[in-house]
Symmetry: C3
Subunit: 334 residues, 3 copies
């Protein structure tokens, strides 16, 4: 495996093998698998859970990691096409990647969103440029529209909990003081659809997924045997749910205009996951990919309660990422 950029690029069999491998890794030490290997982690935006889980996993496999974080000190990386501007970034990503990939054996990049437009986020030219420049194994550590490490961890969490492949998966919007990117909700919905689940996105009017994203998820549902729908009917959505997954995202129409977005979100401030929400579900587990805004996105009694699998999801990041690293750099025949 030379690329791990989105689950959409992988066959369902490959996904299942990676999850199975992660379950094995969880229980068996493999401290010598990556001896002598160096993995370079480039963060164009900070992400400390990703940083910690990759550094820990690489070390536990016997390898070494090097970390570069943009935005610390005066350093920055220009990612826009065309000539460098006279602005701050001294370096262009076209020069960074070919060198970094020569220093190590694999490259992980957190590129996030450029924050310019939804069309840009959907096209992910930034990730595309990095993909075109790197010849060695490349891992997407979180981009404008995808987070395959989280998707694989969530898939494993659903398997760990023996949630039926065709169970009902409710992705609920939750209020947040700022418009959040679409990457994580898009990733969770596509993952569940691909796993074969009945995916319902529960959100206020105006916060529906953009058409192109909806098409992508429906395509994943077709491949996996799942379904996809969106609604603002909370009662109907929650009835019979096996999973309630809490996420916040900005309204697609205003996601890069915080001021306009603020007006749109203001009336929804009370929209948060409450204990009462779970009553009509079928013993649903509650998922959240963290970090959480406690009491704002989700009641603490839910997040800290017996149905919550938030910590479990984060811990599974460690296990699935080790499986991905072994598939790329080890002798694994995944």
């Amino acid at each position: 495996m030379n690329r791990f950029l989105t689950l959409r690029d992988l066959s369902t069999m490959k996904i299942e093998r990676l999850v199975a491998r992660a379950r094995h890794i969880e229980h068996w030490s493999m401290a010598h698998s990556l001896i002598g290997k160096v993995v370079t982690l480039l963060f164009l935006e900070p992400s400390h859970r990703t940083l910690a889980s990759f550094q820990a996993g690489i070390a536990q496999l016997g390898g070494a990691s090097i970390v570069l974080s943009s935005g610390q000190g005066k350093w920055g990386i220009e990612t826009r096409d065309g000539p460098s501007k006279d602005g701050d970034p001294e370096e262009h990503i076209r020069d960074t990647i070919p060198v970094l990939e020569e220093y190590g054996d694999a490259l992980g990049v957190r590129c996030g969103s450029r924050g310019s437009s939804l069309a840009d986020d959907l096209a992910e030219p930034w990730l595309g440029v990095i993909d075109s420049l790197a010849r060695k194994p490349l891992i997407n550590l979180g981009s404008a529209m995808d987070h395959p490490c989280q998707a694989l961890a969530d898939w494993k969490t659903l398997d760990d909990e023996e949630i039926p492949r065709d169970g009902k998966f409710v992705l609920s919007w939750a209020w947040h003081p700022r418009p959040q990117p679409l990457a994580l909700p898009a990733t969770a919905a596509a993952m569940a659809a691909r796993r074969g689940m009945k995916v319902t996105v529960l959100r206020p009017e105006g916060f529906g997924f953009p058409a192109e994203l909806r098409s992508r998820i429906i395509a994943e549902a077709k491949r996996g045997g799942g379904t996809f729908e969106e609604t603002d009917d909370r009662v109907g959505a929650l009835a019979g749910a096996r999973v309630v997954y809490a996420e916040s995202w900005g309204a697609p129409a205003t996601i890069h205009s915080p001021a306009r977005d603020s007006n749109l979100r203001a009336p929804q401030r009370a929209w948060r996951i409450e204990p009462s929400w779970l009553e009509s579900t079928e013993d649903a587990i509650v998922m959240h990919c963290l970090p959480a805004r406690r009491e704002i996105q989700i009641a603490e009694t839910v997040l800290d309660g017996p149905r919550s699998r938030a910590t479990r999801q984060a811990v599974n990041r460690l296990h699935v990422q080790k499986a991905v690293l072994l598939a790329m750099l080890g002798s694994d025949m995944v």
Copy 2:
């Protein structure tokens, strides 16, 4: 050993065993003791000597460390109780700790002071929350009122120098442009009292330790056979001293009000450790836990002179911390 939060929690025998272990480690390589172990270091405030000594020590024992620093980039951790505010921190410590501790084998946290009130600093609710959340070994890398790694390093330094257990230990206040936390002076005084020393805190009027802190140190003196007193009489304090330990701290009444504190400290600007101070001592060594404000807290001829043990104290950080790590993660029966 599962906790290293303050020397007050340890028996004197345990402290002595850790120091003895550190003296052994100083002279013998133990490069395989922590192979396969991962120690997570979480810095809620920066501390580069702590960072460097832990990273080096862990590597020298064959283990790996991962480092997370709050305050770099846009990331932050909320530590206040109650619901997350709408402010900057995206993450709550209640979600951070359970995940981080699953990624590694032990956790070190530098939490410092919240800077809100002296009562808060004395109660250390922040450290208490982390303690309640972590099941794996936990090391205090410096909190509002304690710094057990520094205490153990200082204890070893006193032993290295063969300073008598009942010798006179003078902790002298020194001027500093800003009000400094009480953690380090409190730690040094309690350590020396516990070791059985005659502790004298030499400080201007208004800079006496708060009552609760004084009680704690007196309790330590009782356990260790030492004594504790405070004075502003420099001549009396220094006579016969075996140790002069330089520290700066804010006046307890104004420590979290820099403007008020500034007025209180202004008349004391000349209060710094001078060569002449050592004349009436009994060949006292001079201690300073670094970083030092040269010529402001202490004359350079003293800090760089033959009586200074400041570098030695910092180097002992490395050795005692390795002893603590081995007691927690190795096969040591300390």
Copy 3:
């Protein structure tokens, strides 16, 4: 070898042995050479290519690195002589170095320029202080006037390309929105002169090297059998060149006065390396030590074209630095 501060301190035979060692290392894994060794990397200014190449190289040799970066969070290091000011830095380099060097086996320091005066840059008192304080192996990771790691990587690149020892080496100034330090152009010119090359510095009037720097390079040319000249005649300079090395630097007279410098540079905005420049050369390779301002310093068709060796230079950083580390810490008899 206990010091790697400038190529000027090394015999030509030693330089050649290091390059030969680097060529060997490039093709053979030496994963056990530095097991148990800790290298401390102190960045008083950020440099991410240096950070990445050292971290990767140390890991590939089996050692561990610890990284301290000034300027992150509230931490800083005072390097001026005399008493600490009341300003931000809590720590003086005189206290930092003796401790850091005890924690590890070797020390690398990126000290850059103080930015105060050209005389200061030329004298490098900062590097001198660190040199006087460290007893263990010390590597200059980039100072005000020197960058020996880049010099050695460039030397290896010239050897890799079989550029004749007496070939023509043109170091061309290029426009940049800000006045850049003299360290890299000075290093490249001195390296080429020492290698025996015919060095021509092509730059606008007002951007000639300061007299003391010129003397240094001429001395290197004498040792190596090369020559040194400066000119603003592009046609004459490029004719017959084997190497065109692109660099930007501030006018020595105004380098620490950005406003004055800006006026001086403004008329030269069009001075960038163009494809047409290569026509009269003898199949010259194009060098650039990165980061590059694309289309501003150099045309993208040149930087990304077949003559460019910019990535190769950066990759050679890895190999030569491993040779230096082995010469200092390994069993190499270089």
